[in-house]
Amino acid sequence: MSEKTKKSLKIVSQKEIGKDIYSMWLQADEMADAARPGQFLSLYTRDGSKLLPRPISICEIDRENRRIRLVYRVTGENTGTEAFSRLHAGVPVEVLGPLGNGFPLQEAEGKRVFLMGGGIGIPPMLQTAKELHAEKTAVLGYRDELFLNEEFENFANVFVATEDGSAGTKGNVMDAIRENALEADVIFACGPTPMLRAIKTFAEEKNIPCWISMEERMACGVGACLACVCKSKEVDGHSHVHNKRICKDGPVFLSTEVEL
């Protein structure tokens, strides 16, 4: 059998680290052993009326204590993420994982790398920063309030952009790159689609290999239901059309492979 399992994991700790942004550590055991940066977990509510998974990226892995950290945003009232945010340490959560491919760290070893994150796309870049041996520049984009940025300082050179200009460059991650004349040989990025689209264009113009982590509604999380596809340039290996499954073939894709 595989590394993927569905299990009840105990919450080790949880706290609000920004407005509606929660950080949760799970006692994940084998799931933590198997996990790689850029992969994600599917979390399930205990409310029988909310059946589908909430995919959340792995933000950090504590390999020693076999724990996984998730950082997520509560998207609204009466949502699954709101239900998670109300859980206390000691309570079990149903989790399926680890899922997806993760970032191809070997492609960036020793090189100059941008680790770009936008909003709630920032969390997966943290474990990536921790595990990647390279010359790392983290470029983090926020609307206003910062979170996690200080934790990146330990692993990378950090540049911040905020939409309201309250910290770092006023604007987005691309503005931060321009303003600071940053350069890289490889890009790893995660964030909202407009940001990924800008990064993809930038990377292709500069001819820099770039991997982006994508998002779509999911049902199975394991590649069986074909809910979570994105358009791919080449005919895909699975369905022989032009649809890659984000949950299984991704969530991380070479920017040139996919259409946004």
Binding site: L51, P53, A219, G223, A227, S239, V241
Partner: protein, 301 residues
């Protein structure tokens, strides 16, 4: 010894539990969670004569105790399917049921004919998919069209044919009788109920396709009712599905008159669901001293 084997048109299944088409791929993904050897049958995702790209995303949405999907029958086409998916399934000691989709009667017949030489046990004809413009549900909502396509498919089929019925009809027994008249060997029901969700903040449909098929525990009462009605109306064996997540759910369908059951949406929130349903049925039989599962089939009248 408890006897859980059931017979569908001459094909014996070691137990009545199978997967619902489209929720289990061709078995590979979930073989990481369940032992396919333990299942009565694996029913594959619908396959057409050529690859279909399916619908734009978002393709799914969550609803209360259910979900909507408008995958649009994305599939690799019959060639890749025969080369890759059938050999994969052949490695397991389980029955192989291929779900067939198409846009025209000819499409269906082409796939059915092609499968005649493959080691496939049963064919399930999906004439009830609400998520594609042509074909699909058009056949599944009109008794005459259903009878006609059943007849046509039967001409080409080497394996017994399961006609999969749509619940989006006024009278499910009329459809069941039409399929029976057309020569169907087995009936399966229900496919999804057509539904819609609106995202009020973005003022748009939650699905790119506007409508989608509703499945999951929410639809179970409709499915049980229809299985019961069909069991009273025709002689054919029935594969019951719609919201089955536990052995208790499966037993409701069996008692309502289904000979076998499929687990669909439940795989998405419990990848172990199929195996757990098999085990739970056995446990129920032991607890209630039922020796042969046939004692349960149609037990409630």
């Amino acid at each position: 010894m408890i006897k859980t084997a059931v017979n569908l048109a001459g094909v014996e299944l070691k137990n009545p539990v199978m997967t619902a088409s489209g929720t289990f791929g061709s078995g590979e993904e979930y073989s990481e969670f369940v032992d396919l050897n333990k299942l009565g049958a694996v029913v594959t995702k619908g396959v057409a004569n050529v690859p279909w790209p399916g619908n734009p995303t978002p393709r799914i949405a969550e609803t209360s105790s259910g979900m909507l999907n408008a995958i649009g029958l994305q599939n690799p086409g019959i060639d890749v399917f025969c080369e890759r998916d059938i050999p994969f399934l052949k490695k397991y000691d389980t029955r192989i049921i291929v779900n067939v989709c198409g846009k025209t009667t000819e499409d269906y017949c082409e796939v059915v004919e092609r499968l005649g030489n493959e080691p496939v046990d049963l064919l399930e004809i999906n004439v009830s998919c609400p998520n594609v413009k042509e074909g699909g549900i058009a056949f599944g909502q009109d008794p005459k069209a259903l009878e006609a396509i059943t007849k046509e498919v039967k001409k080409y089929a080497k394996q017994p044919v399961i006609m999969k019925l749509s619940p989006n009809v006024t009278d499910i027994t009329e459809m069941a009788k039409a399929a029976e008249a057309g020569g169907a060997d087995v009936l399966s029901l229900i496919n999804t109920l057509t539904g819609m969700k609106i995202d009020i903040n973005r003022r748009t449909f939650a699905l790119a396709n506007k409508t989608g098929g509703m499945s999951g525990p929410a639809v179970k009462p409709v499915a049980v009712r229809m299985v019961y009605q069909v069991a009273q109306a025709v002689k054919l064996p029935i594969i019951g599905m719609g919201g089955i997540a536990t052995a208790e759910d499966a037993l409701e369908f069996l008692m309502a008159g289904a000979t076998a059951v499929s687990v669909g949406t439940a795989n998405f929130f419990n990848p172990y669901a199929t195996e757990e349903v098999v085990a739970g049925i056995e446990e129920f039989m032991r607890r209630q001293h039922v020796e042969d599962i046939s004692e349960l089939i149609g037990a409630v009248k």
